[in-house]
């Protein structure tokens, strides 16, 4: 039997918990409830939905390259933090922890998604992820650093392989292949143009709201899902 008070939520998923319900009479949104069902399944049955995409794959594969690019940009030697941090509510592995700041690196899929990010407000999922990291580390500042690093050859090959199903003429296929390769490598672009940082300040009120929401979530699991 699992004690719901012992369930710790991953920082990368906190955005799901903080989605507001459509109706004010509800405590939790449908998104939150769906996520809680997934969490419950993981704890009770040890099953986890496998969600993967080429964007996620690239993120994992270029983690070290992004770290190198960011080190060159900041002229600081950074090493990936591998330690899982926990408190009474959440858990997470921030990429970089410095004296004053916790930093999370995000690798963009290509130059288009990278520059579009600059035009948008910080994604809520990332905002809550970093509030979580600040809560875990006690830091006052967090930084989201978007990095534009080369796509690994194996993923470029996958993209080129997909062209086979598009029934292109030989000339068009060669053109498309060259374009894919061009769109995947960014060695010719200045480092300063390949990093985009967003500073996020610690918000104690939001962290308290987060803790209260986690208590609500645990209660909802205890009331609605059987362990």
């Amino acid at each position: 039997m699992i004690n719901t008070d012992e369930i710790l939520f991953r920082c990368s998923s906190l955005g799901h918990l903080m989605t507001e319900p459509k109706s004010k009479s509800e405590t939790l949104s449908e998104t939150t409830k769906n996520h809680l069902v997934d969490v419950w399944i993981r704890h009770k049955y040890n099953r986890k939905e496998l969600i993967t995409s080429k964007y996620m794959e690239k993120g994992v594969m270029v983690e070290e390259d992004a770290m190198t690019l960011y080190s060159r940009f900041r002229k600081q030697y950074y090493v990936k933090n591998e330690k899982m941090l926990t408190d009474d509510f959440i858990k997470g592995i921030p990429d970089i922890i410095t004296e004053k700041t916790v930093i999370d690196l995000k690798s963009s899929w290509d130059i288009f998604t990278f520059f579009r990010t600059k035009q948008k407000a910080v994604e809520k999922m990332y905002y809550w992820q970093l509030q979580g990291y600040m809560s875990l580390t006690g830091k006052e500042n967090a930084r989201l650093a978007y990095c534009l690093v080369n796509t690994p050859q194996v993923l470029i090959d996958d993209e080129i392989h997909r062209l086979q199903y598009k029934h292109l003429s030989e000339a068009d296929a060669i053109k498309a292949r060259n374009q894919i390769e061009m769109n995947s490598i960014f060695d010719d672009i200045d480092i300063q143009d390949k990093i985009y940082e967003i500073e996020i300040k610690r918000n104690n009120e939001d962290i308290e709201r987060l803790h209260n929401r986690i208590i609500d979530c645990r209660n909802w699991i205890a009331e609605n899902l059987k362990f």
Binding site: E64, M67, R72, Q76, Y77, Y78, K80, H161
Partner: protein, 212 residues
């Protein structure tokens, strides 16, 4: 002078490593439960066709068999096939050829060479059987998992040559930072970590370029 390793010579060690890993998988010994004794041939072992087809699908996901030719050879039918398979390491199609032959059954008491005594359904049975043998023959060439060395006495086990060529990225990162340093002050930021990573030589070499 020491000889270069295959890893050093290879134009794409990353790809070579993946190919090596696939070869290692293909050259695993088949589980004992897969291997059967041939019902007629003494001391001949084989892996049933359904198992061969199952492993082909499991490993390559996509494969197809092309019959290139079939013919009569003495009192047998022979089939030449080409097994095409999608290589998971690079997404390209490759093939292996295979040959299979099965004797044509004659009436009881008649000589196998007596073509006037061929049973009415003999070709119907022999031709697909020869095709199955040909498929297995082609698959065997892919590796031990398909029964490559089942009936050989002297075999050499497959040994991987290539290692994951991913360099120690954190060390590489430090090397880059040292080489890109534009002043002694900037370089000094890295001194502790450079020593810890065993890159004192790189650090000193760079320092010398500033002090010369």
């Amino acid at each position: 002078m020491s000889l270069p390793t295959l890893q050093e010579l290879n134009v794409n060690p990353e790809k070579a490593f993946r190919n090596d890993q696939l070869n290692m998988l293909l050259n695993q010994k088949p589980p004992a439960s897969w291997v059967k004794e041939h019902p007629f041939a003494k001391n001949v072992k084989y892996i049933p066709i359904e198992r061969v087809e199952f492993i082909l699908t499991k490993i390559f996901q996509q494969w197809k068999l092309e019959v290139l030719n079939y013919s009569q050879l003495f009192n047998s039918v022979a089939v030449h096939v080409r097994l095409h398979y999608l290589n998971p390491t690079d997404g390209n199609w490759y093939f292996q050829d295979g040959l299979g032959a099965v004797g044509i059954q004659t009436d009881a008491g008649k000589a196998a060479s007596d073509l006037s005594a061929i049973k009415q359904d003999a070709v119907m049975k022999a031709l697909p059987a020869a095709e199955s043998y040909a498929l297995k023959d082609a698959a065997e060439k892919l590796g031990e998992l398909f029964g490559k060395n089942l009936n050989r006495k002297e075999t050499a086990p497959f040994q991987a040559t290539f290692t994951d060529s991913q360099p120690d990225k954190s060390k590489e990162r430090m090397k880059i930072l040292i080489s890109e340093s534009k002043s002694v002050q900037e370089l000094n930021n890295y001194s502790n970590d450079a020593v810890r990573l065993g890159l004192l030589k790189d650090f000193e070499n760079k320092l010398n370029t500033f002090t010369k």
